[in-house]
């Protein structure tokens, strides 16, 4: 039966009340944060050496992660979307697993794989003298581990939505595989690629559990913004508040940018 527009517009009050409660619950911590922020000390604290180091390290590592995610994630997404190979379902399940896994578990797994006595780490150490834990490289690895699936699954969804006959036509017109990928495929999935990239970047920026477990908490080397915030909570709560606020601002601008430009078109494909 079709409902009249008037009937549909009427708000069912018990549902509205519950929904409103949920909104209040999500919103109130932000208000609390703003309320307690020591605005007068804002610039002083943001300009402190340790905070600046953490901010710079976070930006540097998360951008590095975003780039690595694109370099490795796009080919993987392409394989998952287009080639029917054995183990495809396993790889997709693995991607989803590392998305829902507690990051600290990822950190432990990385430590026992790439640590000095780890499965791969022991050979990296004895053959090449490479020790990954407690380095900036380890921060990037931890971030890639948690952020890569966001990019892969987003790009894969974009590729699946794209009619393969576009690429077929391009091939019959003489386009090599690489030319077709660059000129036809990539521009067509741009919204999903950007959405995946920004989500992966945001996830990397907020990474905590895997980083502190695998890379440690060394100021200037592995202490990113979330780690610095957590560390400051004990010694200097005012810094923690301001650092939190900076991260809220960054996350919020990411969402605004996403919503305005890309998410509207790509969100049907983003199973998030």
């Amino acid at each position: 039966m079709r409902q009249s527009p008037r009937h549909r517009q009427r708000l069912p009050w018990p549902i509205s009340a519950i929904a409103l409660f949920a909104v209040a619950f999500i919103l109130s911590p932000f208000i609390g944060l703003l309320w307690r922020t020591p605005w007068s000390k804002f610039t002083d604290i943001v300009l402190e050496q340790e905070i600046r180091d953490a901010l710079w390290l976070s930006l540097k590592t998360s951008l590095m992660t975003a780039i690595l995610c694109v370099i490795f994630g796009v080919p993987l997404a392409w394989l998952l979307a287009r080639v029917n190979f054995p183990g495809r379902r396993f790889i997709r399940a693995l991607m989803t697993l590392s998305m829902v896994l507690p990051p600290v578990v990822g950190g432990i797994a990385l430590l026992y794989t790439f640590g000095r006595r780890g499965l791969i780490g022991q050979y990296l150490d004895s053959w090449f003298g490479i020790r990954l834990p407690f380095t900036t490289a380890a921060v990037v690895m931890a971030q890639c581990f948690v952020a890569m699936p966001f990019l892969v699954l987003s790009v894969e969804a974009g590729l699946r939505q794209l009619d393969t006959r576009f690429e077929d036509v391009a091939r019959t017109l003489g386009g090599s595989r690489w030319y077709v990928f660059r000129q036809v495929t990539l521009p067509s999935i741009k919204p999903s690629l950007i959405a995946g990239l920004v989500l992966a970047w945001a996830r990397a920026l907020g990474e905590f559990g895997a980083t502190i477990t695998f890379a440690g908490n060394l100021p200037g080397t592995t202490q990113t913004m979330p780690l610095a915030t957590y560390a400051a909570l004990d010694s200097n709560p005012e810094s923690a508040l301001i650092l939190s606020l900076v991260m809220v601002a960054v996350a919020f601008s990411i969402l605004i940018a996403l919503r305005e430009r890309w998410l509207g078109r790509a969100d049907q494909g983003l199973a998030l």
């Binding site: 077929d168 019959t172 077709v180 067509s188």
Partner: protein, 227 residues
């Protein structure tokens, strides 16, 4: 000169088995219900699907022969294809769509644009060159798609359900236009449709497929008599 297609092609549980030859200059319409193998047949000619046995020979050049391990890549086949709705590249302008086949072969943009002029004029596209596909009507998009397919001067023109998805009025117009286009193209012309009126209005010869097999092959007038 002929296009000989005598092959079998398996896709999952579906099997296409044909033995057909085409003459230059005739307009052949392939009919059949969904899943009869019409599109698969076109894909095989274009090289988008390899055959499993038998061969595909165009003007004495083998394009695909499974047993001899001969397979000419789709980029190297003189085949142009037009799909339903045109399938224009949405991120490119009309002009970029038309000259894609030249640009893919490393022709400079200015040279490609120059080379495209006769086609642009023939299809009356001069006013539309800077538009994007979403700003075109169904009929216009179809014209651009044909110009794009013809820019590489193919010997074979394949049209896969080019008129589905158009409304009745546009369909009448496009049908007339198609007849003109097909008349102006000298090579092999194969058109796939499931619409009898489309078929009868354009075909010299009609082939009907069902479950991957040819169930009718004869002239359009014979087919009309059969109905």
């Amino acid at each position: 000169m002929t296009l000989n297609t005598r092959f079998a092609l398996t896709r999952g549980s579906f099997k296409l088995n044909v033995d057909l030859s085409f003459n230059e200059g005739e307009v052949v319409v392939i009919m059949g219900p969904n899943g009869s193998g019409k599109s698969t047949f076109l894909h095989a000619i274009a090289g988008l699907l390899p055959v499993n046995s038998g061969s595909l020979v165009l003007d004495n050049q083998t394009l695909d022969e499974a047993t001899k391990k001969v397979f000419v890549d789709p980029t190297q086949r003189p085949v142009g294809i037009v799909f339903q709705g045109g399938l224009l590249f949405e991120t490119m302008t009309v002009l970029e769509n038309i000259i894609f086949g030249l640009r893919a072969r490393k022709t400079k943009r200015t040279d490609a644009t120059h080379q495209a002029q006769p086609l642009i004029n023939q299809f009356g596209l001069a006013e539309l060159l800077e538009r994007h596909p979403r700003e075109l009507s169904g009929g216009q998009a179809q014209r651009v798609a044909i110009a794009r397919a013809l820019i590489t001067a193919p010997k074979v023109l394949l049209l896969d359900e080019p008129m589905s998805g158009l409304d009745t009025t546009t369909r009448q117009l496009v049908r007339a236009e198609f007849r003109e286009v097909l008349a102006g193209f000298a090579g092999y012309r194969i058109l796939v449709t499931h619409d009898v009126d489309d078929a009868l209005s354009m075909a010299d010869r009609i082939i009907e497929l069902d479950h991957g097999k040819v169930i009718w092959d004869g002239s359009a007038s014979e087919y009309r008599g059969k109905l």
